[in-house]
Amino acid sequence: MIAIQTEDLTKKYKEKIAVNSLNLTIEQGELFALLGVNGAGKSTTIKMLSCLTKPTNGEALILGNSIVLDAIKVKEIINVSPQETAIARNLTVRENLELVKGIYGSDKKQSKQKAEEIIVDFGLSEIACDKAKTLSGGWQRRLSIAMALISEPKILFLDEPTLGLDVLARRELWRVIKQLKGKVTIILTTHYLEEAESLADRIGVMAKGELKAIGTANELMTETQTTKFEDAFVEIVEQGGMQI
């Protein structure tokens, strides 16, 4: 079943085209990585798909719901872990989780119950009563992802989830993301090529607002006749893409 389908999805900011006629299909349960250099249009794509900004042209369907016409329905079935850690700083870890469950419509009892489950699943028990602002960057990011999952979204957007984390914290988050594979459709944007190579089922490479290539890491390397994924990425971005 198709989770996300975009049709000529376009976003212009005055004269600047941030995303240009994006046509993309992502299957349910897939972990899809969007790669690109700064300004490639990854974050704008995520913002449009999560109904944070309206497309200038085109359309996208999220499990059959239009991001333009059915924004509230879309918002009920997705969740986002933004690029910067998005937590309520003066609330404890548990309260942050209960808050998100609550704003997605659950009552107090359901929120508390689900928060406890997520605390266990994400190994947050030791810090459950700590205020979010006292946590390290790695724990805050982990909490941010846990907050994105507590609403039990069918589609999860992870916008550069490991940005700024040390190697150990990044590997730990990779482990968490791998556990989600197959259960939730995940759209991941990242600058770390090894992250996409390690985690993603398929990878899309964007440059200058356009989708330049799409496929598995191996397919992209084969298409570009390279042996390293980094070389394939550079080739795609510098040469302006390949047939998709």
């Binding site: 944070l52 009920e76 690029q83 997605y104 929120s111 907050m147």
Partner: protein, 245 residues
Amino acid sequence: MKTLAFASRNRKEILRDRLNLAFGIGFPVVLLLLLSAIQSSIPVELFTIDRLTPGIAVFGLSFISLFSGMLIAKDRTSSFMMRLFTSPLKSSDFIFGYTIPLLPMAVLQIAVSFAVAFLLGLTVNINVLITIIVLIPAAFLFIAIGLLCGSLFNDKQVGGVCGALLTNLSAWLSGTWFDLDLVGGAFRKIADALPFVHAVRSGRAALSGDYSSVFPDLWWVIGYAVVIMIIAILVFTKKMNSDDL
């Protein structure tokens, strides 16, 4: 349920900012004590406890604008707002979610001013309760100002506008510190055109038991509260739907 969950978060965020809270409740109390001390040494009619207390209560409400403005501005300039905007919360959930926790705080702040005034000799009677009710539209007014400033400015700007400008405006132009008739002229006209002096006057009228004089001053306050709240809702909704996040 969504609104209440969000309101609960906002209540916790405000109450856990101890410095803001202490300043917001403590400063009006200190002023009340200070001006009462001046009154006991140099009797000034303006500073008698029954005239001073409604003025201090209205002045104290300007800190409610600061609380709400800072919270919204901080949310708006952080990724947390992105999380909230991608959730199924509607603009009405946001407005009520920010307003609901502030109203009891505003009433509590007014009540604290009166509790201290009782210790300083204010008579305990039914008029006090009526005055607190009469000051509720003023509480809405200051909450609306906070919502508007928080929707327009960043947290530093809100600190300047609500923390410095609004507190001074509500102090100087309310007729609490000095009799506006003594200054007269354009100053008096500006004060009369703004809601602060009307809020204080309606509070004083209620406290003195002169209920017939509560209006039309209270209409000024209600009018300003409604208009500013509508503008705040429109501005917040526009920001929510804009690309500028």
